[in-house]
């Protein structure tokens, strides 16, 4: 007995707030979905971006339902008490490079050298430590230097203030081409199975809105499809997300996205979770058992259902 004249048969669309932590090409999928209006009608999606410290609080409070970010941040917040779990990912690894200069030619050479990081505990710092520990160094063998922001990190590398950094592939490659004596030390995409770009969901909300969650994932999948089929439109969205305007750079960013994303959304794999847990243990988090990791992965059926639609 609804007498609402505006109701078109069904109930009003479920509102979903989405937050992304950096305007990186890896997250342009959400921009494409938004720009091209690819979400089903039963949900009403609004997208905001900003700083990752703000994102942590937003996601854990349930103020946003969907949160685009990288491992192991989701795991960390979930451990802090937030009802948060991975919903899906569209990469098989981290799309970042470890680069060095000032005579550093391998990860082992970082012994006694300085490593630039944004802040301790942030992803770029955690994965840098992981690679170095994997190469046989301990955290006492090199000096971590907090630079506060990614621009400062890149700038410090360009200026030679630090000997090694981990940066997203686009920025890293630009530095490699412009800084004399800089070399690639490690490509995470090839070496570390990891959630580089994924979406996590507030699980309290999920319990009450399973349909809406599936619809959201359906929209993301549509965006992935759209991006491979409509390169020009996709580039426009990438440009809006990242601010890149130069045509060549935009081509490169698009290509980079296509090269490092999967064809379809995927549930986060056990392998990826284990990598995250290992890194968190590196950081001294004794709660980061493999069992805890499993609890962060949600039921893969959501992704499957979304793909079926």
């Amino acid at each position: 007995g609804s007498d609402d004249p505006a109701a078109e048969g069904d109930a009003a669309p479920t509102p979903i707030s989405v937050y992304y932590t950096s305007p990186l090409a890896g997250y342009s999928i959400i921009q494409v979905a938004d720009d091209q209006d690819l979400f089903p009608d039963d949900i009403d999606v609004s997208v905001e971006g900003g700083d990752s410290t703000v994102g942590v609080t937003l996601a854990s409070s349930g103020r946003v339902q969907m949160y685009l970010n990288t491992a192991p941040m989701t795991e960390n917040i979930a451990h802090g008490g937030a009802a948060l779990a991975w919903a899906a990912t569209w990469t098989e690894g981290m799309n970042t490079l470890f680069i060095g200069r000032n005579g550093v030619e391998s990860l082992e050479d970082m012994k006694g050298r300085s490593l630039g990081i944004v802040q301790p505990g942030l992803t770029l710092s955690v994965i840098a430590n992981d690679a170095l520990i994997d190469a046989g160094l301990s955290q006492d063998d090199y000096k971590s230097v907090s630079l506060g922001t990614v621009p400062a990190l890149a700038g410090a590398f360009a200026a030679g203030t630090v000997d090694g950094v981990v940066l997203d592939r686009i920025t890293a490659q630009r530095l490699l081409s412009e800084v004399d004596g800089s070399v690639e030390l490690f490509d995470y995409y090839d070496g570390t199975p990891f959630v580089g770009s994924g979406v996590s969901v507030n699980t309290d909300w999920l319990e009450e809105n399973p349909e809406a969650a599936t619809s959201f994932l359906e929209g993301l999948q549509a965006a992935l499809d759209f991006m491979s089929e409509n390169p020009e439109e996709a580039k426009k969205s990438i440009s809006a997300m990242t601010g890149i305007t130069d045509a060549a750079a935009l081509d490169a960013a698009y290509q980079d996205f296509m090269d490092h994303s999967t064809d379809t959304l995927m549930p986060v794999s056990e392998e990826q979770m284990n990598a995250s847990m290992r890194m968190l243990r590196n950081e001294g988090n004794d709660w980061a058992t493999d069992e805890f990791g499993a609890s962060v992965v949600i039921d893969p059926s959501y992704v499957e259902q979304a793909l079926e639609r």
Binding site: S17, Y19, S22, P23, L24, S46, E48, G49, G50, D51, T53, V54, V56, T57, L58, S61, R63, V64, T149, V150, P151, A154, G155, A158, A159, I170, T171, R174, L175, E178, V179, S239, T242, G243, I244, T245, D246
Partner: protein, 282 residues
């Protein structure tokens, strides 16, 4: 001192009108002409900008890190051509106008209440001092949660940064009512309301103007912070994006735009103030 003898200095020889005995140069404070000021100031600006360009061309500074004046100019041209800059400026302007407008209204009202009603002041003053003194950057996550990371959250950030200088200045202006004027009004049997509206508020205009000025400057800063940390929109977002991608020219362009806006606003305000306050130029 009954035997004071006057030390009469010997007269100078003949008619040498320009020469005096003293060797110490007495104080003189003649104003520099507006023209010389502009010339000197302009020369300084142009000089430093030229030096920066040269340093960048000769590779003394890394253009990747420090860009160059021509790099900033190129960024401006690019961003205008691809239609990014103007919409960004529009969205920033909108945030600033609404945020500052609300701060102004709230600041005037709360400031007047605090300046006039001592009980309200007693209750609010500790909070105003605490909030004004606390590093509001630490509250960004809370603001994002309560008001969302979108326009509303940004607005709250701007208001939280811009409103306090206005409140504080307005309150102290209203509080500092001229005693002579107050007695005069009392002698005519004016009511409290008369005194507030006809004496305290008009008399507070200079303090209000300085509050508005500080609020404006802080509001601009608030806009950058809000756009930088929440929502990534407008010029603040542009600075953020550009920084992430090592497009230093664009980041500096954003800073230059804000600085220009701040300078333009403060000089406009000075003009308005001197109009409003003409009776004071006695």
């Amino acid at each position: 001192m009954s035997a004071v003898t006057i030390e009469t200095p010997p007269a100078t020889a003949g008619p040498a009108p320009g020469r005096r005995r003293r060797t110490r140069k007495p104080a003189s404070r003649s104003a520099l002409s507006t023209r010389s000021r502009l010339l000197l100031g302009g020369a300084g600006l142009v000089g430093v900008i030229a030096l920066w360009e040269i340093a960048s061309r000769l590779g003394w500074v890394d253009p990747l890190v420090a860009s160059s004046p021509s790099g900033v100019a190129t960024s401006a041209v690019d961003l205008i051509e691809n239609g990014t800059l103007l919409p960004a400026m529009g969205s920033t302007l909108r945030l600033f106008l609404i945020g500052f407008g609300i701060s102004l209204g709230a600041g005037l009202i709360i400031g007047t209440l605090c300046g006039w009603y001592q009980r309200i002041d007693a209750v609010l003053d500790p909070w105003i001092s605490i909030l004004y003194a606390s590093p509001r950057i630490a509250f960004l996550p809370l603001i994002a949660v309560w008001f969302g990371p979108g326009f509303l959250g940004q607005l709250v950030v701007v208001i939280l940064i811009a409103v306090f200088p206005i409140i504080i200045n307005v309150a102290s202006g209203v509080r500092a009512i001229d005693r002579d004027h107050l007695r005069m009004a009392q002698s005519f049997g004016a009511t409290n309301r008369d005194v507030l509206l006809k004496i305290a508020l008009p008399g507070a205009i200079p303090a209000v103007a300085s509050g508005i000025k500080q609020g404006m400057m802080q509001g601009l800063l608030g806009v950058v912070v809000a756009e930088y940390f929440l929502g990534n929109t407008g010029i603040g977002g542009l600075i953020f994006q550009a920084g992430l991608m090592l497009r230093t020219g664009e980041a500096l362009l954003g800073a230059v735009i804000f600085a220009a806006a701040a300078l333009a606003l403060s000089s406009a305000l000075r003009k308005v103030e001197s109009k409003l306050d003409r009776w004071r130029t006695a």
